[in-house]
Symmetry: C2
Amino acid sequence: MGNTDQSHPSPNTYNFNSSSSGASHRVGIPPPQPFVKSLKNTLKETLFPDDPLRQFKNQPTRKKFALAQRYVFPILEWGPRYTLEFFKADLIAGITIASLAIPQGISYAKLANLPAIQGLYSSFVPPLIYAMMGSSRDVAVGTVAVGSLLTGSMLSAAVNPVENPTLYLHLAFTATLFTGIFEAALGIFRLGFIVDFLSHATIVGFMGGAATVVCLQQLKGIFGLDHFTHDTDVISVLRSVFSQTHQWRWESAVLGLCSKKKPNMFWVSAMAPLTSVILGSLLVYLTHAEKHGVQVKGINPTSIMDMEFGSKYLTTAIRTGIVTGVIALAEGIAVGRSFAMFKNYNIDGNKEMIAFGFMNIAGSFTSCYLTTGPFSRTAVNFNAGCKTAVSNIVMAFAVMLTLLFLTPLFHYTPLVVLSSIIIAAMLGLIDYEAAIHLYHVDKFDFLVCMSAYVGVVFANIEIGLVLAVGLSILRVLLFVARPRTLVLGNIPDSKVYRSVEQYPNTNNVPGVLILEIDAPIYFANSSYLRERISRWIDDEEDKLKSSGETEMQYVILDMSAVGNIDTSGISMLDEVKKIMDRRSLKLALANPGAEVMKKLNKAKFIEKIGQEWLFLTVGEAVGACNYLMHTQCKQKLSDEDSQKYSNNV
Amino acid sequence: MGNTDQSHPSPNTYNFNSSSSGASHRVGIPPPQPFVKSLKNTLKETLFPDDPLRQFKNQPTRKKFALAQRYVFPILEWGPRYTLEFFKADLIAGITIASLAIPQGISYAKLANLPAIQGLYSSFVPPLIYAMMGSSRDVAVGTVAVGSLLTGSMLSAAVNPVENPTLYLHLAFTATLFTGIFEAALGIFRLGFIVDFLSHATIVGFMGGAATVVCLQQLKGIFGLDHFTHDTDVISVLRSVFSQTHQWRWESAVLGLCSKKKPNMFWVSAMAPLTSVILGSLLVYLTHAEKHGVQVKGINPTSIMDMEFGSKYLTTAIRTGIVTGVIALAEGIAVGRSFAMFKNYNIDGNKEMIAFGFMNIAGSFTSCYLTTGPFSRTAVNFNAGCKTAVSNIVMAFAVMLTLLFLTPLFHYTPLVVLSSIIIAAMLGLIDYEAAIHLYHVDKFDFLVCMSAYVGVVFANIEIGLVLAVGLSILRVLLFVARPRTLVLGNIPDSKVYRSVEQYPNTNNVPGVLILEIDAPIYFANSSYLRERISRWIDDEEDKLKSSGETEMQYVILDMSAVGNIDTSGISMLDEVKKIMDRRSLKLALANPGAEVMKKLNKAKFIEKIGQEWLFLTVGEAVGACNYLMHTQCKQKLSDEDSQKYSNNV
């Protein structure tokens, strides 16, 4: 150090001479914060980013209680302001979605290998709960194809729904209960951000894959095959389709195609299913094609006693519940959020989770299975001009009436029509434009999307999800493990320094290497950064040697983008400092953030490099270096002069 | 947009008037790079950060071949330059570490529940391989306590070493083979960075925990107990110690304490073990205390035929091999690196992995088990003044001589002396100062360290590691999932804008909110950032309302620290833009990086906010906003004047 210090006078002097900077420009070391306080802040930011208790601040206890009630039951908030105009709109919307809900409910129930009636039950109780607790005005509650398919595939793996229907049904209820508990818990413990890890790309690929699988599954119905595989992957499905060509039924195929063409306008597609169901049923009644029965049962019977806590399949139920819960939440919240965007209101993710959770818990007690806010139904609801969650209540009562009086109608509903309804709904979910957009904007997101799609289509839903989420997380880790380091240059006639790659018109400062580190310095990247920085120095020195310019004397690390640092990172900086001392280079840091300063200070690193080598901006750092190099030159010259002088004497 | 645009004239005009900025200051959109090229760069940075092929650039093929040879066998590089002085130094160092290697080898073999002779074998062949392939001059190869313990605990779980010694031994060889293959593969596929995920904090906690466990295990020897638990956790160990108090042997305890006191100087600690072994053996020979036999067997017999590929324990062997491999690598490379630091030379992580890998493969074929570069032995080697890897060769031959002629000496080695040697070695590994340092500098690292320690001590080694690594990764994910957003203010008499928290003397710009985002904008944080940004805006507007200042008109996002963005992030920015349009606020971006610009451009987001709302620095953005607000005021005034005029008329 001693030597290097001599050859490098401290820039203090500069700091005082130069006009462009002064004492005020010293890099601030934030005052030490009590650990508990900082911990509290971190937890608050992590778990309460939306600051839900804000409204409760300085309110009388009475008011607080009222607010709390409204917080849990938003209906208390908008209920009093509810008008007749609203009701008219909600009535229409409610009937529209009911007309969609009934056939969809039946079809999706089949995906879950459940009796069709469960699908109808699931459109009665849960919507009522959501109407009271949900914070979205547009979400229409009901069963979802993907969730149903997932339930079906995961439970069928453990119990055969054909051989042992009761146990299977009860397991479905149990799974739904756990879904509800899981969702509510996530909301209550403010862990909503877990859903964020399902990225946009993942959901696109996943939905597309699931839709493809569902469509393939429907070939059974379209071709009217009796035996069909229970696997969901393309290969085994296609095999079991083409292995039975002799069984293909032309009439069902035709019937399917007729009712399959997908209308564009929402209300048409909303009415279409019901119409096609009725027509189809009539047609079947006349032609006596294959039947698919729904027994009349009245409204939801209780199923509290049906939970399979004792059985050895409990773990299956729990696993199913949690996996489907995550998917259902992801879809429900994404849907709610996107429609809230249209109408310019915010919805609270954690609150939504609690609502979804309780709606599923209540559902599991009343013979319903997994429900959420499906995209298709919500879109119809929104487009039919719903104003509040009352449209859900309307739908619920419409379904109730159906349950009480109209179910005989479904006695003749042909499988093929249901299949075609599902396919029509599914085709809308294969969003290839989005995939193309991903490809153009972000190749890695496209990769994630494709891996989700391929995983779901060729293996199964879980593998697809794990693949996609794993990749997305890997990307985050790689971003930190391999941060970009940029060489900065000076932008002409300014004190600004920017990446020479991005701004080719920058000119570099002779004798000074300026590096920007583009990520927090953590254990995961500390050794890489050490290697990389010394490599930058090598390259620079090679370049200078070849061009014979002034040798390098200073290295400035621009820490603006270094959000945080850990102990491994600090020891990395230590090593870099040592390496530079060996090469008699001086290390300067520009604009280290508060967190970083705090840690560097505690680790005594600032003492090591010297407070005077910390600068507020790269510009000032370069200024100081130039000043010092200048003074050195003068010194050298004067030394030479004095020598000449002595020689002359 | 139309309206907002009217109320906000474009800042173009400003850009041309203002002196401090001009056309040259436009934010550059990097030229579109062919996907393959960028992918190539990414892969290069990820897998070849140290650019190993650098030296091969523009060399004749002949030279290239020679270089390649040297790359694989560094001995070819330094061998020719080897001198007699070097040899003298290496000879002394070699003998010193041999004197440590022999008793350590025996003791550690016991930790792995292997015959003591395996410990000696393991100090013969592997060092020779490493001497040829290793790139470190200081690493002394041998077995390690932690690795041995890990092998012991993991294999004993599957096979009882007492009942089925041969199978157990063969499993150990198989595990070692897989360790070797795994390590070599990591090196060859350039996956060295996986080791980086064992952070400094993790290793400190892990070593301490392992050392504690090992010490506890030695109580068996110290108290001369016959029956002892095979579990490694504190509770069961202490139970089995105090359940047999009646068996405690005072003489062995005394003997242990005598040979246990830990000397400070390295060469003493280097000689101490051998001396204590010899003395101990004599003492035992005279007092006829318990015996611990080592059969004379000559040098390493081959064990290629002993691999247990067929057996049902293969998976256990593979798991053990990989887990121990990771640990061994982590220690070996960390040790090599730290001593290379002292002598100012670099070692190549991937190269080291290949060396360690082949040394273990060769070892597994010659009756050796897991070896690496243990800290204690390397430290002794370094301190004894080794110059090159030749000291390993010397040690190997010293051990060979021992194997051939001296093993009878160990016939009487008392268990207690070995135990005390181990304990002495272990106590050095419990680095509580480091833990305290962690606590002071970085609470989270301390948490990681402690979780590793507690996990290892109270559960087992794997749980401890998984816990610590999981926490470390969670931290990285949380950093990205909950990035800090900072409000910036202007630093007096400068164009610099910094966090108001860190620099309390900053003054904020009326009518403008400046936010800095401190992490890449990814799926994991996009929804959080949306919430947070709108909350910042709310807070600011509340503040302004209460203080009755000029209302907010502009929001500037400082993107300097945003290293990258994905499609979820872009749609988040879209939503933020919409939110602001609704509140008739203008959004400006300052200093977006190359990656970000590329993606924003592809996603057409730049068109949406308008190229003129991108600024090189926060300063320029603020300048533009002020200019616009000023012109607006003037406009308003003139309008009022004209109105007055018309009124007057």
